[in-house]
């Protein structure tokens, strides 16, 4: 008899669990039903999380005041998670890298790149090397790094993967990075790339120049242990991308209001954690070169 009582309770529990999945779903629907749903945004986790929280927290406060709608930031753990949140509509706005922006706009027709950092029109990758390698800075791609160990940043990073892979393939025609280097790694973000090369875990690596500058200024880089050995040609990178359906949710002209709010940021306290001097207007067309590079490296269909 004890068993029957127990099973009654467990059956009740199972019902509760089923009921629980319901509220979880309806809560999400409930938010859409409200008069003004919050504008949710994210950013690719390209560096130290504390810096991301600082920069996006400030942007959320600023945008909320400028736009008159609630604005929320949702943190993600990886580049593809940021793109996924954008494609399934959990976020309407995102601070993407060049390549993740291309991926996201391809997956969500009607979405637009609206603003980039003033520095992003001509962005750069630094190839950095541990001092023990003896590699010296030069104007051409350092072919001596062949057969050493090399770490990229995140797999979908523009300055940490796509562009460096493109330059590596140009310097060593017909060879993939796995064939050029003794070992290829993906550190996950730029701060980690610097740490790995500085500690000697990898001999060399590719890093976003703005993160290198921010971390150097913050005193996080041991210049005796790691240095820049090559500066790449320039390419377009980070941008704010917005979904096309924000016009239906927040009214016609919202995209433009968002663009002017972002490009109107003058407060150094907001811009400084981004490592940018200002945000400037941009369009999807500015990122066409990255589409071509993505196709040539096989990262994009």
């Amino acid at each position: 008899m004890r068993g029957a009582g127990l099973w009654g309770r467990l059956a009740l529990g199972a019902c509760a669990a089923l009921a629980a999945a319901g509220p979880a779903l309806s809560q999400e629907r409930g938010q859409e039903g409200r008069a003004v749903p919050p504008l949710v945004f994210t950013g690719i986790p390209d560096q130290d999380e504390s810096r991301l929280v600082e920069r996006f927290g400030k942007v959320a406060v600023y945008l909320e005041a400028q736009l008159g709608v609630p604005v929320r930031y949702v943190p993600v753990k990886s580049y593809p998670a940021a793109v996924t949140a954008f494609t399934n509509g959990q976020v309407q706005l995102a601070w993407f890298g060049g390549f993740t922006g291309v991926q996201a706009r391809k997956a969500v027709p009607g979405s637009q790149a609206i603003a980039q950092g003033a520095e992003d029109a001509a962005f750069k990758t630094y190839v950095i090397a541990n001092a023990a390698t003896g590699l010296k800075r030069g104007p051409d791609f350092p072919k001596d790094i062949q057969d050493k160990t090399f770490t990229f940043g995140a797999r979908a990073s523009t300055s940490g993967r796509l562009m460096p892979e493109y330059f590596i393939r140009q310097a060593f025609p017909g060879k993939a990075p796995e064939q050029v280097f003794a070992r290829v790694g993906f550190s996950g973000d730029h701060t980690r790339t610097i740490q790995l090369v500085q500690s000697g875990a990898f001999a060399a690596g590719a890093v976003d120049y703005s993160v290198w500058d921010l971390d150097t200024k913050a005193g996080k880089v041991d210049r005796q242990a790691v240095s820049v050995i090559w500066e790449s040609p320039t390419f377009p990178d980070y941008q704010w991308t917005v979904r096309g359906d924000v016009e239906q949710t927040y009214g016609a002209g919202f995209t433009e209001r968002l663009r002017s709010a972002l490009t109107g940021i003058t407060d150094p306290a907001i811009l400084e954690p981004f490592g940018r001097s200002a945000f400037i207007p941009v369009t999807n067309a500015a990122y066409e070169p990255l589409v071509a590079v993505g196709r040539s490296t096989g990262l994009l269909d």
């Binding site: 059956a11 529990g13 199972a14 999945a21 979880a24 779903l25 938010q31 753990k77 998670a81 797999r155």
Partner: protein, 514 residues
């Protein structure tokens, strides 16, 4: 190991083959340590464990961890119970259950995230789906093992549901309860690990803290997790479960922003996971199928085959290391070897080791040692050796020894190990599948198993490739499970207990423990 040492010839042969395969695996495995100061980082983490900073811990992450685990396991066990009824009769149900449980929770979460976003729904379903498959199988086995006496007394014409409810269920309810409560412990581990890919559980906070070197916070999070697992028997009881489930449903923090589930699901099923050459193509055209083959072939040769090979190599080495570790560790928890003082300490050590999710151990190992197979092997071997040694210790205590039995090494080598060897192999062969399933997922951390290619495919937004690779991981897991089952049958050890919560040997001392 000498053949004469073991009671049955088959035991020695299987042991030798497995050890030889693991040694062969060592020759091809990448075991390099690529970081220069692994012990400095380890020392800092241990320092964090000694001086934990509990104030830095966000309370919601603890709530979200427990709530997702409760709801995920509740939903999974409920569905599993329903599926257990037709399990023995329906091949379709058995295949479906094998399929859903062969896919790891993390892979489920990566797929579900495409539709449900970073939400509680993703976390709960990622646990519920594989757990439904596992629970269905285990409940069905418990029902099979049950005494049939009650069934025979039923009048003719009793319906299947009535027969199940009145004659079968009361027989097995107690063991099902034990198993379900044990599953909750696994659910807590799964829930923690889901944080590593972005769901707001303890794993999210741990990854952030560890990555940024906030070791005191990381240490506090680890300790909180151990307390949660260690105190499980106090707060997870049959009578608290309904309260916990309702509480979990109420306490689950709402997600920020909401995914458009309908359109996302349609896009995911109708476009994203359909192989690229088949999207919108004319299926009657032979050219379409030629394109499909052109798409499929490089994926098979460059990703599935090398990924599978690496996964098998990793699992094989980890299995052998688990075996050696368990043989070395189990005396710590056996009365005859560890004594009345050492045994409780040994058990605490093994419970801590087995409570730590393999994925988290591997994450720590990879951060400390760099991306090679070595940290993955260590993580799998530590966790699984902890479990097998714990169970072996209990069996060792249950053996009726002669009054003049030898002591120490003689007892260990000539009596205890030979008498437990069949049981030992049963545990190992059973854990083989679990080790393999976990090996696939370590690819996300940078070891080149199948998960490595899944991670790459998801980064490139090629969900069709990712789905294919995940299906491959499921196939490999099912194949190894079938092989292990066949091997256990041919060694005639398939009737021995293999589950952590299964029937345990009860001795006087155990009964006194409560």
């Amino acid at each position: 190991m000498r053949a004469a040492f073991l009671p049955r010839r088959g035991y020695a042969a299987v042991s030798r083959w497995f050890l030889a395969a693991a040694l062969a695996g060592l020759l091809v495995a990448d075991l390099q340590v690529t970081t220069l100061h692994p012990f400095a980082d380890l020392a800092r983490l241990l320092g964090g464990l000694i001086r934990p900073d509990f104030l830095a811990v966000e309370g919601w992450s603890v709530v979200a961890t427990v709530a997702s685990a409760m709801l995920g396991v509740g939903l999974g066990a409920g569905t599993g119970l329903l599926l257990a009824i037709p399990f023995a009769r329906s091949r379709t149900v058995r295949l479906a259950c094998a399929g859903i449980r062969a896919v790891h929770e993390l892979f489920w979460a990566l797929l579900l995230m495409q539709v449900f976003g970073l939400s509680a729904t993703t976390g709960v379903l990622a646990i519920a789906l594989p757990y439904a498959g596992i629970c269905a199988k285990v409940y069905a086995e418990l029902i099979e093992e049950a005494d049939l006496a009650a069934i025979r007394t039923l009048p003719a014409g009793t319906g299947a549901v009535s027969a199940f409810l009145y004659a079968r269920l009361p027989e097995v309810a107690g063991r099902m309860r034990d198993y379900t409560l044990y599953r909750l412990e696994c659910g807590l581990r799964s829930s923690l690990v889901l944080g590593f890919i972005g769901l707001p559980t303890l794993g999210f906070a741990f990854e952030s803290a560890f990555r940024q070197g906030r070791y005191a916070e990381a240490g506090a999070l680890l300790l909180i997790f151990y307390v949660l697992i260690g105190s499980r028997r106090l707060w997870v009881r049959a009578r608290t479960v309904p309260v916990l489930l309702v509480g979990a449903a109420l306490a689950l923090p709402p997600s920020i922003g909401s995914a458009a589930i309908g359109p996302s699901l349609a896009r995911f099923l109708g476009h994203d996971i359909v192989p690229a050459p088949l999207r919108g193509a004319a299926l009657a055209e032979p050219e379409t199928w030629a394109r499909l083959w052109a798409w499929l072939r490089p994926i098979l040769t460059e990703q599935v085959l090398p990924g599978t090979a690496q996964t098998l190599v990793l699992a094989q080495i980890a299995l052998a290391a688990t075996a050696l570790g368990a043989l070395a560790l189990f005396p710590l928890t056996a009365r005859r070897f560890a004594g009345p003082v050492g045994r409780p300490l040994g058990r605490v050590l093994l419970v801590v080791v087995r409570s730590t999710p393999e994925y988290m151990l591997a994450y720590l190992g990879l951060q400390l040692l760099g991306p090679s197979m070595l940290p993955a092997i260590l993580a799998l071997a530590l966790h699984n050796a902890g479990i097998v040694a714990y169970l072996m210790g209990r069996h060792a205590d249950a053996i009726p020894y002669r009054a003049d039995a030898p002591r120490g090494l003689d007892l260990y080598a000539y009596e205890t190990v030979p008498r437990l060897y069949g049981q030992f192999l049963a545990y190992l062969l059973y854990r083989w599948e679990l080790i393999l399933r976990e090996s696939t997922i370590f690819g996300i951390l940078g070891v080149t198993t199948l998960g490595f290619y899944v991670d790459a495919a998801i980064s490139e937004l090629r969900l069709d490739v990712a789905a294919l690779l995940i299906a491959a991981t499921a196939l490999v897991t099912v194949a190894v499970d079938a092989f292990s089952r066949g091997l256990r049958r041919s060694l005639r050890i398939d009737a021995l207990p293999t589950r952590l919560s299964g029937p345990q040997p009860i001795t006087g001392a155990e009964a006194a423990d409560g």
